[in-house]
């Protein structure tokens, strides 16, 4: 009954979304303000409706209504309440509803802004947002319905919304429970962050389409959506980092990124999104690249939809992929529709997007930003091709192939290195005017310090070429960026007489985009420190040791103290080992690697025992190649140098994005 109510509500929301599309199109073409307003109100109304439907589903999840197929598949009695609630996005059907909820929220937020200056955009922004919303609601209503219930029919158990002929309702007494791998704090926030990132990129895309359709091809659409893009980028980046953190904490293979196709599917919109963030600055400052920016935002939106399609349609084989589903064909139709319509629009308006071109120097900031875009596109091509090629190969030769980490790492490493170099040089270049001499004069000091840093690292015993180049570039970016902060603050200090700290604060406050951006650059190279440490210097060892025995790795000794097996909350059986860690003779502490076995799903999980410091992680997991007992237990020990800089860097980029996106007082009026 409650489920029927929830279903009814989303059907109404779906009809409203369709109405809003029609009304908006009519309002735009007939220049009728009333119809556009009507469309706006319909769009606004979808948000509370989808919210009600989502709360209904949450209620059903929390109270264990296992007669519903979705509730049955993602919850069980042994799960704590917070996990039952977050199971809203634990499976395909619920996560699609959640997507719709976020989409309606953001679309409504956009429609609530003041539209006086941009009346002509409003209907078309509504059209794009409502079409996307309607699509996701359609997926939920017709294919993956979270409110469908179990029925017993002659041919077996079936899940459907309405009673099939001759069926009787079925009410299981318990649920399957969420895959234990997903019961981790990282997994709780990672999907919402990703979805927030995906959904918020729809807004700049909607404005871009509105600009193309109405012919207002100046950079008004970019200025309006500037903050949306930053926020979308923040959420998407966070979603990726959280996914990496979850993988590191819970999957037990000592790594954080496997170049799995589904990971790449979420990474690709990030690449184009980052390129877009930079190249819109060129359009704002110099009025150039209007066509390219349009292309980038179209690519970002389409990659979002494409990535969602790949993850959910069963086309790709991946550990992350949802189970095979019937939504593939509709999704495919939607991708086709959006690709064809956006590209057609772009081609149609191509000439109107031509603008004033001023490129005085190949070393100007515009030129370096364009190089930045080139390298991001290079990484995008590598990723896209690596994901698509197995599909093509299988269609043509009927043989499956795997495109894995060696391919991606080898191809993208030089491109990322080039991007780091650009992060070091571009802040020192000037818009418009820049010669080799002026740029050289600005760069040589930080470059020298970076070179000295490399020499110091070499002297400290690191001779690996990739590491030396990588750390050298990191040093360059850090020095250049700190130099920029210092120079700016000093200039202000000299001019206003404020003390240095106040000068720095006010400087950043007055120019948030630039200095927030610099902070983000620093955060990126901090993450690069972690990545380099792992890529170049990670070591591992595995061995079966009796109680009292030990394994040695990278100067650490891991001694097996004891092991215990017991049942615990959450319906699992835990095998927990206690190991002590020594460095040389110094005792550093105990770690508790364990293996959990979930009775309901029969699924095992490996939880590592980790000792984290700034310099490295010592990561110990319990392996089940042999039976585990006090007589002998198999441990795998990873030494992960510098890995925590990844997480530190991510905190810095959150801060940097907040600085960059924080509204400035003068801008409230716009």
């Amino acid at each position: 009954m409650i489920a029927d109510f929830g279903f009814g509500v989303i059907v109404v929301a779906f009809l409203l979304a369709l109405f809003s599309v029609g009304a908006a199109v009519y309002g735009a073409l007939a220049k009728s303000y009333r119809w556009a307003e009507s469309a706006r109100r319909a769009m606004l109304l979808t948000f509370p409706l989808v919210a009600i439907a989502s709360f209904t589903l949450i209620y059903l999840l929390a109270t264990g209504h296992y007669e519903l197929e979705y509730v049955y598949s993602v919850t069980s009695d042994s799960m704590p309440l917070y996990l039952k609630i977050t199971a809203l996005w634990g499976g395909q059907a619920g996560s699609l509803l959640f997507w719709s909820w976020l989409m309606s929220a953001f679309a409504s937020a956009v429609t609530l802004r003041r539209w006086e200056r941009d009346r002509e955009f409003l209907p078309w922004v509504i059209v794009v947002s409502s079409v996307t919303l309607a699509f996701f609601l359609a997926l939920t209503i017709f294919f993956e319905n979270p409110f469908a219930r179990w029925w017993q029919t002659a041919s077996g158990e079936v899940a459907a919304m309405f009673r099939p002929t001759g069926a009787i309702p079925l009410s299981p007494s318990g649920g399957q429970g969420l895959n234990p791998l997903l019961r981790h704090p990282g997994m709780i926030i990672h999907p919402p962050m990703l979805y927030l990132g995906f959904v918020s990129f729809v807004i700049p895309y909607a404005f871009a389409m509105a600009a193309l359709i109405t012919g207002r091809t100046d950079d008004r659409w970019i200025r309006i959506t500037r903050r949306w893009t930053l926020v979308a980028w923040l959420f998407l980046s966070l979603g990726l980092v959280l996914g990496a953190r979850w993988a590191y904490d819970v999957l037990g293979w000592g790594g954080y990124w496997g170049w799995d196709p589904v990971e790449i599917a979420a990474f690709m919109p990030w690449l184009t999104g980052t390129a877009f963030l930079h190249s819109v600055m060129i359009q704002e400052k110099r009025g150039m690249l209007k066509q390219w920016n349009m292309l980038l935002i179209i690519l970002t939106y389409d990659l979002v939809i494409f990535g969602t399609f790949l993850t959910r349609s069963g086309v790709l084989s991946s550990v992350h992929a949802f189970a095979k589903s019937a939504i593939g064909p509709l999704f495919f139709a939607f991708i086709g529709l959006t690709l064809v319509s956006s590209v057609s629009l772009l081609v149609y308006r191509w000439n109107d997007l031509k603008a004033e071109i001023e490129m005085k120097s190949m070393l100007s900031r515009e030129a370096l930003f364009l190089l930045n875009n080139l390298f991001f596109m290079g990484v995008l091509i590598v990723c896209f091709w690596g994901v698509i090629f197995p599909l093509i190969s299988e269609l043509v030769t009927n043989q499956k192939v795997t495109v894995g980490p060696p391919f991606y790492e080898r191809a993208t490493a030089p491109l990322f290195g080039a991007l780091m170099l650009l992060m070091g040089i571009a802040p020192l270049s000037a818009w418009g005017h820049s010669t080799f001499k002026t740029l050289g004069r600005a760069v040589w000091k930080p470059a020298l310090v970076a070179a000295l840093a490399v020499v110091a690292i070499f002297a400290a015993g690191i001779h690996n070429a990739v590491a030396l180049i990588g750390f050298g570039l990191v040093a360059l970016v850090i020095f250049v960026t700190l130099y920029e902060f210092w120079r700016g603050a000093m200039a202000r200090h000299r001019r206003t007489g404020e003390n240095f700290v106040t000068a720095l604060w006010r400087l950043a406050g007055r120019n948030r985009r630039r200095y927030g951006g610099y902070l983000i650059h620093i955060s990126m190279v901090l993450m690069a420190i972690g990545i380099l440490g792992m890529q170049v210097f990670q070591t591992e060892t595995q061995g079966t040791i009796p109680q009292g025995g030990s394994l040695a790795l990278a100067g650490y000794t891991v001694t097996f103290d004891s092991v215990a097996q017991f049942d615990t909350t959450g319906g699992r059986n835990v095998t927990r080992a206690v190991v002590s860690v020594y460095k040389g003779d110094q005792y550093l502490g105990d770690l508790y690697p364990r293996r959990d076995y979930y009775y309901e799903s029969g699924q095992p999980m490996t939880i590592p025992g980790v000792r984290s410091t700034l310099a490295d992680d010592l990561y110990v997991i319990l392996v089940d190649w042999q039976p585990i007992s006090a007589v002998g237990a198999t441990f795998k020990v990873y030494h992960n140098p510098l890995v925590n800089w990844l997480w530190i860097g991510s905190l810095v980029f959150i801060f940097g994005t907040l600085v960059a996106a924080w509204p400035e007082k003068e801008e409230v009026k716009s």
Binding site: L370, L374, T402, Q542, G543, P604
Partner: protein
């Protein structure tokens, strides 16, 4: 006669010893490959049935069998390449972590660099045409002198003034 038979017996055992001991020693010389050695090879392979899971971390029983197979082959003295080759023959090319460089698979390695170079070329051409246009404009209108001196500070001050 009886002395001969008596002497024959130890001689027989001596012969037996000479032939047996070497084989026993040979067997004892092959230690079981360590987990690390197995992992070093398993890392480079992917589980043939699971989705995109490397063989050293794959938890299924099938993967355990394959790791034992690797251990066995290592004990027999097979090299890493021979083991990988065996896996490819038995389970297909998908067990490798990147496509073998044969036939259609060359496309996966060639296309990204070619696309990148194409993009770089397009960018270069664009730069050239923009510079040419710009040179045209500046020779027509008189070139603008780039600000000298502490241009950075001047620029910064100008921006600050605008934003103030």
């Amino acid at each position: 006669m009886r002395t001969k038979t008596f002497l024959l017996i130890p001689f027989f055992f001596l012969l037996l010893g000479i032939f047996l001991v070497p084989t026993v020693t040979v067997v004892a010389q092959q230690p079981t490959p360590s987990d690390d050695e197995v992992n070093a090879i398993a890392r480079q392979l992917y589980c043939p049935v699971c989705e995109n899971t490397p063989l050293d971390v794959c938890p299924t029983q099938a993967c355990a069998q394959w790791r034992d197979l690797i251990r066995q082959m290592l004990a027999e003295g097979k090299s890493a390449d021979e083991i990988k080759q065996y896996f490819v023959e038995n389970y297909g090319a998908r067990v490798l972590s990147e496509p073998p460089r044969t036939g259609l698979n060359w496309l996966v390695y060639i296309l990204p660099p070619v696309a990148f170079l194409a993009g770089a070329y397009i960018l270069y051409r664009a730069f050239r045409s923009w510079r040419a246009l710009d040179k045209q404009a500046s020779t027509q209108e008189g070139s603008e002198v780039p600000p000298a001196g502490d241009e950075y500070v001047a620029r910064l001050e100008e921006e600050l003034r605008k934003r103030k």
